[in-house]
């Protein structure tokens, strides 16, 4: 199966747009936390923005204060929907630029990020797509953008695996058990019961560590067989799906799924 760059971009754009659409709806659902009696009160946050120039502060105030931020979010959801239903070669660059800039603004509203890693990857994918759309005819730009997205995604799994495997607590399976019972991530009872035994916890941990550390094979593995990248992508999908069930990390699923077309496209160079 040969994946064209255009198809990879189209698939990536639709997945990330779907993710952005749901992210926006979630924040609209949480609108009470953003108002003047909520948690992230604009009056409090502006203290922190005093480090910025006046003009930039005015832009932030116009777009991020309550209730204006709801307009930003509503438009973001609408633009996300528009990108889903528009063919890739007709998507105006302004729509992608809006998704990227609104994502950056929303991260500022939450003092850096709202949901950590998923925000990082959303920005990575939207940056790649926006630049690719600016110069759609350039093969060089397309190639660089797809490699940028793919390398960030592959590196994310690889680094996450490497930093864990260095710790004894991860190698013994103890760490996974700890995170499963921590109040912040408390896993469903079924999962906690399944991983109650040291052996099962260790097996699950090592399966995850090997998957993460070997993830660069999603790129190189095509030299062995074209099935290898597809297998890694399928496992990655299952991994994020289980993270939704166990930790509730739904935003990661869409942000990372949007990188898989780029990974597969890049892996074809090794076939």
């Amino acid at each position: 199966m040969i994946l064209l760059a255009e198809t990879a971009f189209a698939a990536s754009a639709k997945i990330i747009a779907l993710g952005v659409l749901f992210q926006s709806i979630e924040l609209i659902q949480l609108r009470r936390t953003l108002n003047d009696t909520g948690v992230w009160q604009w009056g409090v946050l502006t203290e922190e923005f005093k480090i910025f120039p006046v003009l930039f502060r005015a832009i932030l105030s116009l777009t991020l204060r309550y209730p204006n931020v709801l307009v930003l979010l509503g438009l973001r959801a609408g633009v996300g929907f528009a990108v889903i239903v528009t063919p890739w070669d007709s998507v105006p660059v302004l729509l992608l630029l809006y998704l990227l800039l609104s994502t950056l603004l929303i991260c500022l509203r939450f003092r850096g990020t709202f949901n950590g890693g998923s925000d990082y990857m959303t920005v990575v994918v939207l940056t790649g797509l926006t630049i690719a759309r600016v110069a759609p005819a350039s093969i060089w730009v397309s190639t660089i953008c797809l490699w940028y997205i793919a390398i960030q995604s592959v590196t994310s799994y690889f680094v996450a695996g490497v930093v864990k495997i260095r710790h004894r607590e991860w190698r013994t399976g103890e760490a996974l058990a700890c995170f499963l019972q921590a109040a912040k991530y408390r896993a469903p009872k079924l999962v906690r019961r399944l991983l109650a035994e040291r052996e099962t916890s260790m097996i699950a941990t090592w399966a995850m560590l090997l998957f993460e550390c070997l993830f660069p094979l999603a790129l190189f593995g095509a030299a062995i067989s074209p099935i290898v990248p597809l297998a890694f992508i399928a496992i990655a999908g299952l991994f994020h799906f289980s993270n939704v069930y166990i930790f509730g990390l739904n935003r990661f699923l869409f942000a990372w799924a949007a990188t898989y077309p780029a990974i597969y496209w890049c892996s074809q160079l090794f076939q």
Partner: protein
Amino acid sequence: METSNILFLALFFLLITALACLKGPQISDRRVQLFRVLFPSWRFFDVMGETPTLYYRVASSSEDLGEWQAALEKPELRSPYWPFNIFLNSETNFVLAGYSLVEQLVSDMGEMYGEIQGETQGVTGRDSEELERSVSFQLVDNLVRFQIQKNLQPTPTEAKLVYQFKVRSEPIRKVNQTAAWNQEAVSIAGAPVDILVSKSYTHNFYFGEPERAAARRV
């Protein structure tokens, strides 16, 4: 694919491994912090450290302040409906963002007072005022009031209540794995430490429609 390209990529991942093993410098500049989404970090779940957890207590007067209760609890998974959470999971994401606020407060306190070793209750005088004026403290204070308001609903009334909150550092280093997994089976290395206990604050809570509450405040 040429051998030289494969070698180049292999070297790239070797370099990534080396960088991942190094502990990068902590950049405390607020501008960098605010734009940190532009500098992705993929070091997920690498720290087996402590989780700062937020607790509060509330009563009609400061003498009646009783048991501490957790302010942020991950909502229970409703089994038949959980696939819906793939698309929308705002409650859990709010709890995670709340934890980030608390972690940021602890990090700011570390910068303000140096390494936090124990209870910061009774930070007095100018220190206390500086902490209370900080954005992190005010946001956590807002979070506590928001949770009190939410948890005491749906009584449609208003009340002047006294509340207090604390941040407790809970080490999650050791887990004694046994066949019966439950809270009792978890043995924590070291005791939890209260790293911040706030003063008691009095606040007018409005329980009911948020729009009406806002209008009343005005």
